[in-house]
């Protein structure tokens, strides 16, 4: 067992445990925080896979952006003053079966398939290369992504704001 393997198992454990908490925790705050660990773990996996730039992006966007957003969402939609912020689950049994089957099948497929694996290459300048890719080969997609982000930004503001305007009108 090499160090590499060890680190992998460590991260895998972190991810799985924290993801399990995310899924299973009754208190939504716990879920939110353990999601943080999941994201970190995934970032670690990325590093292991020679994707340092993506790992960094993962930390910045997921941890810095999305997670904060989610926690805001939690706080805005639950009366935070109430001590117990618990949520319930339903259709647990079928979901366990379904996700179990899906997970099992996927694992089975992944492990049984004879992947045509090449020798992993270690690239040094991933950031430069990704940058070059983004403005050459994937330029249209890149710009589209920008537009999507812009639209999402405006859209979410609109969605959140519109209701407010209408309620104001009603109040008037």
């Amino acid at each position: 067992m090499t160090t590499y393997d060890l680190i992998f198992y460590l991260f895998a454990l972190i991810i799985l445990v924290s993801a399990f908490i995310v899924v299973a925790a009754r208190n939504i705050i716990y879920s939110a925080f353990s999601l943080l660990f999941t994201f970190f773990g995934v970032a670690g996996i990325y590093v292991l896979l020679n994707a340092d730039f993506i790992a960094v992006v993962q930390v910045i966007i997921y941890v810095g952006g999305i997670l904060v957003l989610i926690i805001f969402g939690v706080m805005l939609t639950n009366k935070i003053t109430e001590v117990e912020i618990k949520t319930e689950s339903f259709q647990v049994l079928p979901s366990i079966i379904i996700s179990g089957i899906i997970g099992g099948t996927l694992v089975a497929i992944f492990t049984k398939t004879n992947w045509k694996v090449a020798e992993p290459q270690i690239l040094d300048k991933t950031v430069t290369e990704i940058g070059r890719f983004l403005v050459s080969h994937y330029m249209i997609l890149f710009e589209l992504a920008g537009i999507i982000l812009l639209v999402a930004l405006i859209g979410s503001v609109m969605i959140a704001r519109k209701e407010k305007l209408e309620t104001e009108e009603v109040e008037k």
Binding site: F90, Q91, L93, P94, I97, I98, T105
Partner: protein
Amino acid sequence: MNENILIQLSILNIILPLFGFVLLIFFGKRLPKSHLFEISTIFVGLVSSSIVSFFKLNYFEDKLIVFDFRWIDFGNVPFFGNLGINIGIQLDNVSVIMQLTVFIVSFVVHLFSIKYMEGDPRYSRYFAYLGLFTFSMLGIVLTHNFLMMYIFWELVGLSSYLLIGFWFEKKSASDAAKKAFIVNRIGDVGFFLGILILYANYHTFTFSEIFGQIAQGNLPFNSGAWLTAAGILIFCGAIGKSAQFPLHVWLPDAMEGPTPVSALIHAATMVAAGVYLVARIFVMLTADAMLVIASIGAITAFISATIAITQTDIKRVLAYSTVSQLGYMIMSLGVGSYFFAFLHLITHAFFKAGLFLGSGSVIHAMHHEQDIRFMGGLRKKLPITYYTFLIYTLAIAGIPFTSGFLSKDGILGGTLAFAKLTGYWFFPVVGFFVAMLTAFYMFRLVILTFHGEARDIHKFEHAHESPATMLIPLISLAVLSVFIFFSPNPFNIEAGWFYKWIETPKTIVPQELAFSFMINESNTSHNIIHSELYTETLHHSHSTAMILSLIMAGLGILFAFVIYQWRLISADKLSIKLQPLYNFSYNKWYFDELYSKTAVAFTLGLSNFLAWFDQKVIDGIVNGTATITRWTSFSSGKFDNRVVDGLVNWTAYVTGFFGMVFRKFQTGKVQTYLVMVLTGIIILFFIFKSL
């Protein structure tokens, strides 16, 4: 003058009335005098068709002039090679004479209508329809193939529908129009099937090509029975259009249309199209088919003549007389006397159109009173109408020096000869009996309408002779009902030019399928149509028929005068004495009642049943499936609730799982749906895993 010009003129003749129709339909309301345009197109057609007839009959007497083009191309059909459908026109002596007849009648009817229809809110529409009719009728007359024949066949049906239902505010008119179209359709379906038999074998619609194939012994589906079937099925078209038994019921009802329309369509031209059709396919009729045709014709002639003697509506009497005369022509074709059938078609067209126009004149004068029981004595008020009417009546009764005498006499002679050779004495007996009935009811009509005292004084006072545009048609048709136009010798048609032009075509049916007196085309090279025996018999029967028919007609006229003019026998008493017969005849043999109680009631009942069946059973099954699914899910949900607590084994898991899924089939929760979707994906995956 060459053939091309004749063809071009004929095409022009067909197109002109259509042009009139289109113009009137779109601009009729905006251009107040536009009907005059339509009439002038008919007049141009009349002139040009006279030219065509003159040149065709005098310079290209024996020539068949054909013009056609490929209308539809099927391309290179596998196993058959290049196929397509040609359409076009052909000019032979029969078609040019018919063309001229159509134009003559059409023109006088147009002329007559100017005054007759004056003041109608849909005046221009009326002339538009007349134009459409003339166009379609010319199509039937000039076509050289079955498909076009069928197309125009239906188009005359359409114009007939539109014109019968012209006063559609009246329920009876729209009923009659609908009835006419549907009854005609029944016949047309048979016609269509007949065409299909021919097409399926020969892959063409053209008369000459089909007949050529049959003449070479190439029978449909290699059997004479199919040839007979084709003949009879095509004849079905004629049964519908020429109002033959058992589809004759529409024609009397069609009298709901304006009277000039009855003259043009339901007396002179359209109804005669059936006879024309049978004449066209005459060469391919087998002996069996001819026997069927003759029988239908005889039965029709008899039934309608018996009905006509008790009717009281002036137009209905004429309608039944038309049906009866058409039966004559059909019977005549059936017994192989082609020439006289065609002759009667032409002569009948003139005098029957005249009778209808004359009745139109009477109706016009009587302010739309049609019941002859309220007429009488009109001779004094309407002298010109009376005398012309009398000429037509003499013609239809078959009195010498009229055109009707020539043709009717020939038909009766034909039936006699046929009976002598084959032993079917039924036909001459019916023929002569009907001749008597015809004379009787026609004179009954004349006497009740024009002779005696006025029975409705008020209307009589206001009656007045019709204006000149209505009288000119009457007079010209009366002139055309005189023998001189057909033969210089009033007792022998064979002396005339008509006999020279219209030549009975040689049959192409194999000898063993045809009557023995018909000679097959392949048998002889020279121009003999009938066996010598037949020619001789016909010659002998001729004089017998002439004498007999005169006696019968005289008897009929005598009875009419005895009963209605001199009143030696009271008509009322007679009708009471013969009550059952009288009722039977007066109610038209109860045909309408029979049909509406059987065929119509059955169809409507079936359709209502099927609609119910569709809604309750078929749709019920669909909805039932939905209900059962819901019920199953509900009950399995119940079952699940009870059992799942107790059993913790795999079966229970699966049951519980399905129960859950089914119960929440429509919860409105996205996540439940998602569960189902994923389940589906998993199942699909495992199904296709093995592939």
